[in-house]
């Protein structure tokens, strides 16, 4: 039922105007909701309270909503908050009033189903996760696709991207950022464009012609006024930048957008070197951001997509929403935002990649991988130099990759294998201590 109609009905049944107004508020805090509940109980009596609260309960901002009979009963059972919320919402839809017996039966059934669905102790969850991602992996594309939109930025997707994530690569094949802007800049294209210019690398060669002239032993820089205007750069800034390259440089402003750097008593080789150095000098922008494109999101806000990534520096730019701007480089996120943010980023990136390929993998498997990779406080790859390479068992490591190296290393250090894991017990032909194999039975005397 709509809040409005619910409010009308409340008025009819003789509830205070004040309370009705409170109920119509968009968000109600838990404290206020409890107060409203008490007031309603006094004014219209218990039978009404549940129904009334159910009408607006959806609007209460707390997850652990503790209202009405149903709300209270649901709160008692041992299931996660998300399930409780869903349950409350579903029970609210039930038109007929639930008797206590029926409600209890429903809740008991939910609790039981939840317990049954939980994984058993000693279950090999890692193997299940590996298979659950491995199988869809066989259906993934091997190619790099480009992003939606014409002339947009290329991004590694599909299987290569998944491999990149689990390998925790420091250098990505296509680093990219999604730069969200604060509302003032996100609503207008030209304002967003201005920030794009603020972060996109601009070298001198992008805004001017740089030429080394042998006849007068100097480097000539001819500024392109149009480009300067487009990138919001003043010609004084360029002059200053060039002067900053080296204090020994003699920079002369010729006029008409021309600059001349005199190179005295130097060889032709030095002249060419200076030419190369001047043309690649950064005038504006953040090093590493090769391109920044303005795109309009489905939600209507303007967002920047970049080629290249420099999270820390971009977050500091005025106008950039430093709470929602992200990069696809997980190591960078770990460095700038911490290990928990890196864990979230792994989950987001993997789920996003799988989802883009139309594959449905349970988030629990992805979460397990992210948890394992971030266990030790830093992002570790799943592979030879990470999780698999740090296993305690010699045999397990030898079975994974570079067998001889591992055995030799272990022999030199005189390692022992406690035969506790799965692989080593398979190798020696013993039952593995997993699932039902982990349980020992003893006859009662």
């Amino acid at each position: 039922m709509e809040i409005k109609t619910a409010a009308e009905e409340l008025k009819k049944s003789g509830v205070d105007e004040e309370i009705v107004e409170l109920i119509k508020e968009e968000f109600i805090s838990v404290a206020l909701a409890t107060e409203i509940e008490e007031q309603l109980e006094m004014q219209v009596g218990q039978p009404y309270v549940d129904d009334i609260i159910l009408m607006f309960g959806r609007e209460v901002e707390s997850e652990e909503l503790n209202l009405g009979r149903i709300g209270r009963e649901v709160n008692k059972i041992k299931v996660p908050v998300k399930i409780k919320n869903e349950l409350r919402q579903k029970l609210r839809v039930v038109k007929t009033k639930l008797s206590k017996e029926k409600l209890d039966a429903i809740l008991a059934a939910v609790e039981q189903k939840y317990e049954e669905a939980q994984v058993e102790p000693r279950e090999a969850v890692g193997i299940v996760a590996a298979q659950s991602i491995g199988e869809p992996g066989t259906q993934m594309t091997m190619r790099t696709f480009h992003y939606a939109g014409v002339g947009a930025i290329y991004i590694t997707l599909g299987l290569p991207r998944i491999i990149e994530i689990v390998d925790a690569r420091k250098k990505l094949s296509t680093p990219t950022m999604k730069v969200k802007l604060v509302s003032e800049f996100a609503s207008e294209r030209n304002k967003a464009e201005k920030i794009a210019m603020e972060i996109e690398e601009t070298h001198i060669r992008d805004i001017a012609k740089v030429k080394a002239a042998i006849e007068d032993m100097s480097v000539w820089i001819v500024l392109n006024a149009k480009e300067l205007k487009r990138r919001y750069i003043m010609s004084e800034e360029v002059e200053q930048t060039i002067q900053d390259i080296g204090t020994a440089l003699l920079v002369e402003v010729v006029g008409g957008g021309k600059l001349r750097i005199h190179v005295k008593d130097k060889s032709y080789h030095d002249l060419l070197r200076l030419e190369a150095k001047v043309s690649t000098t950064l005038v504006k922008g953040i090093g590493g951001i090769k391109r920044a494109l303005v795109r309009r999101d489905p939600s209507g806000e303007y967002v920047l997509y970049t080629e290249g990534s420099a999270l820390k520096k971009v977050l500091k730019v005025d106008g950039v929403d430093s709470g929602r701007t992200t990069t696809n480089n997980i190591n960078e996120i770990s460095d700038v935002l911490g290990i928990e943010a890196a864990r979230n980023a792994i989950i987001e990136e993997m789920a996003g990649t799988l989802d883009e390929q139309g594959l449905d993998v349970d988030p629990r498997h992805i979460t397990l991988i992210a948890d394992t990779m971030t266990m030790d406080g830093e992002v570790k790859q799943i592979g030879r130099h990470g999780i698999a390479g740090e296993k305690a068992s010699v045999l397990s490591r030898a079975a994974f990759e570079v067998t001889v190296d591992n055995l030799l290393e272990a022999a030199i250090h005189g390692e022992t294998d406690a035969l506790k894991g799965v692989t080593e017990n398979v190798i020696v032909g013993q039952p593995i201590k997993l699932g039902t194999g982990a349980i020992e039975l003893r006859a009662r005397k």
Partner: protein, 80 residues
């Protein structure tokens, strides 16, 4: 144009980190029957616990937004 300060704690990827006191840690370890070192780790230099005064050996409680459970508690041991 640069911002003066940057608070990474407001980033949507960063969950809430809270330093636990000793009695809470003991309760936690007793509940799961584990030793301190069996907890997942977080570096003392981690940006998310910067300025919290956490020292090596402390335990941090993390309130994650979970895709499956809605909200989930997690714990990390501070390491050097």
């Amino acid at each position: 144009m640069k911002k003066e300060t940057l608070s990474i704690l407001e980033h949507e990827l960063v969950p809430e980190h809270v330093l636990m006191d000793e009695s809470e840690v003991k309760e936690l370890l007793d509940k799961y029957k584990i030793r301190r070192v069996q907890l997942p780790k977080i570096k003392v230099s981690d940006p998310a616990i910067n300025g919290m005064g956490a020292e090596v050996g402390d335990v941090v409680e993390i309130t994650r937004q979970s895709r499956t459970a809605g909200k989930a508690l997690s714990f990390r041991l501070v390491i050097g």
